[in-house]
């Protein structure tokens, strides 16, 4: 009896201390790092944001935002205004930037009869965008759709992150998002992630480590399969590495064109593509374009096939840096010149998009600030 009492009291003290430490860590993460996840599983899209939820991200910038009734990082859709929908991933979502600093807010301030519907969602690839547009159209009728592309989008299209739908002749007829095994895992972890910022943060930290381990494993299996395949008699010969640049040219352009045609149909022909290329802002103090993957050319090529007007914002962003020395990408929390558009970049993009929107909506006499 006497010996078990100190043990049980020690055990309780240690357990309480650990619980208190976890609660303290939860509080610290919520203040300084991130809010609990607001993602929820979606059988079509993989996952989407919960409607009317707060999100805080502190990795690059430090921004607090709220999703609207559609689960978009945007304000409530106003029926009295003309709507322009912008589709894209985290850049369009204005990740790491407060809503008031986003390009959407700047455009709405300049063209006050227009409401921008921010259809951006972090980590989506072009195969998601037609579905996002379909859902937005259930509650509003956008007069114009803008597809905002940037480097990295084509990789999602050619690297197996999509479902390719083919007819009986093998012709590609549709491209849909692929619900990955990671999404299925997320679905199971949703209750924890939606209630704990600490858990969410730890999962995000573990993800790249797990991804690296999985891709290492897959690469090893691929090499083994190649080594033992009948096509290869030399066992020591290594498997060829995937050439993303060639895949973009051979497959990516046609796939993106197919998606553009799909969005164009959904937009009643009112679609424009805008993009910026891979800009290296700080290489030897100068700006350079990293064109290894030729994504800018691929965007243009796809838009040409789909007969959609295309605008390159790269010169605008570069010119802004050269004249002001203000970097449009990157944040104080991370490396400047790299990463998402920062508040300066959003303003530059907004200024570039205003005339494009005016041109396509043929708005006359709208006051510009």
């Amino acid at each position: 009896m006497n010996s078990s009492k100190p043990f049980s009291s020690s055990f309780i003290a240690v357990a309480l201390a650990i619980i208190l430490a976890l609660l303290s860590a939860e509080l610290i993460v919520r203040v300084a790092v991130t809010s609990p996840s607001i993602q929820t599983f979606d059988p079509e899209l993989g996952y989407r944001y919960l409607p009317n939820s707060w999100i805080m991200l502190g990795k690059e910038g430090w921004a607090y935002n709220k999703t609207n009734e559609l689960g978009l990082i945007d304000q409530a859709v106003s029926p009295s205004k003309q709507h322009v929908v912008v589709l894209g991933d985290s850049i369009v979502e204005s990740k790491q930037v407060h809503y008031t600093d986003s390009f959407a807010a700047h455009i709405e301030q300049t063209l006050n009869e227009i409401e921008i519907i921010n259809g951006g969602h972090s980590s989506y690839n072009p195969s998601h965008y037609p579905l996002v547009l379909q859902r937005i159209k259930q509650s509003s009728k956008p007069q114009l759709s803008i597809l905002f592309l940037h480097p990295g989008e084509m990789i999602g299209l050619v690297s197996g992150a999509t479902q390719l739908i083919r007819d009986e002749n093998g012709t590609l007829i549709d491209i849909l998002p692929k619900v990955s095994s990671a999404d299925q895992i997320k679905k199971k972890l949703e209750p924890f992630m939606q209630h704990s910022a600490l858990f969410t943060h730890l999962m995000r930290k573990l993800k790249p480590i797990a991804n690296d381990a999985i891709s290492d494993y897959r690469e090893s299996v691929r090499k083994l399969k190649y080594a033992f395949s009948s096509e290869n008699t030399a066992l020591t010969q290594s498997a060829p590495t995937l050439d993303i640049a060639s895949l973009i040219v051979s497959d990516g352009i046609d796939r993106l064109a197919l998606i553009l045609e799909k969005i164009k149909r959904e937009s009643d022909g009112q679609l424009v593509v805008v993009f910026y290329d891979n800009i290296q802002f700080l290489e030897n103090g100068k700006v350079s374009l990293t064109t290894d993957l030729n994504e800018g050319d691929a965007f243009k090529g796809a838009a040409q096939i789909a007969q959609v007007p295309v605008y390159d914002l790269t010169p605008t962003l570069v010119q802004h840096y050269q004249t002001t020395k203000e970097l449009p990408l990157g944040f104080h929390n991370l490396i400047p010149g790299d990463g998402h558009l920062n508040p300066i970049g959003h303003k530059v993009v907004a200024d570039a998009l205003v005339p494009i929107i005016q041109e396509h909506l043929l708005i006359q006499g709208v006051a510009q600030k």
């Binding site: 201390a17 860590a25 730890l202 020395k325």
Partner: protein, 469 residues
Amino acid sequence: MIFTSIAFLIFLSVLLASFIIARGNTTRTYLLLIASYFFYGWWDYRFMLLLFFASFTAWWLGNKMVETNDPLKKKRYLQLSLVISLGTLAFFKYFNFFVGSFYGVLGIEKSVFWEITLPVGISFYIFQAVSYSIDLYRGNISHCHSLTKFLLYVSFFPQLVAGPIVRAVDFLPQLDKDIRIRKENVIVGAQLFLGGAIQKVIFADTLRQFADPIFAEPTLYSAGTLWLAMLAFAGQIFGDFAGYSLMAIGIARIFGFELPENFRMPYISRSITEFWRRWHKSLSFWLRDYLYISLGGNRKGLHRTYFNLIATMVLGGLWHGASWNFVLWGFLHGMALAIHKLWETTSIARTFKSNLPTANALFGWSLTFLFVCLLWIPFRAETFEISSQFLQGMFTFQQGIQWYHTPSLAIFALLFIWHSLYIIKAKPLMSYPDVGITRFHTAYALSITTLMIVIFAPEDASPFVYFQF
């Protein structure tokens, strides 16, 4: 195998389990020796041979030194031991540098000569072997009869690759005591280890994210950003090295060994002399005892004292790495030490010190801190050109990108609070906050520290800066 890696945690867990199971001092000594060689061989198995060679020759020539009664022979054995130890260090560490510099003068391509791989931590363990030989010669210690114990003294894995530089007189007697895992040592050791991990993983690695890109291209950034980057590197190198030392001390403590303190809040120093009594203490005192005193110390007049100080610091700079930047860094520190010594002899200094002690302390701290931080620039910069670009940008109010890395600013604030608390409470660096009062406090402190490390550790963890030395 760095202390913050998964591989090391596995290594440590297996070693701890084996250590608990093993019975008797001899078995545990062998176990630690095998583990230490495995730890070192993890980098490159060939390095184990070098480590053994350096240890064995020091021990064997020590034997010879003790066996003879002839003072001249004794001296010859010491000289031979020093030539072998320091020759090995010079060959591996400075061959590329001197041959490269020589070829550079002749205008020959660098690729012509043989590239020597620098074995990790060679400067640390060679210095330990040298200290044993000199102490034995001077009669400060008795001879270590057991080769196993001596090999473990030189190779003890917590301090093998980046110090603290341990003296035989402090370490060897600990092997004669009862070596075992004790609960109180585990708790204190874990606290020290986690305290060091906080300094390395949170402080140093965060500040590195800010300092690295700016030291790569200083011409791109504004003067304000350059000044902040200088402070960031000052914090980084302190967090990195003091953190590593504390982790090493903590791990040794878990196994029941006491290692010497290596850092004592160096940035609160009020003079450059005080700084060197607080920064990398095990090296400073090594240089003082085995180099400065051997050169004559302050026994041969003022001029010779100044010369000895400068020469010691130049060699100390060169110890850090084979580069002219380190030579310059050491020379300027030596000059500062000499000037401070000269200043202390003047009547103005004495008057100032006695009549205005607070102003004197504040002025001394500001000057020392600024000087030390400015000299971190050539220490960190890859080349002379980058150093001069950095300094030029700072002092000409250079225009450019303004980057104020928010996490680094938060770390500056934490470091400032920590140092201020230290000044108020005057507690040594090694006394991790008094958490060992109750089980609840201990468990809470260990849990929250571990969680903070996991939460705030940057995704791209880096090796320790001092591994390269």
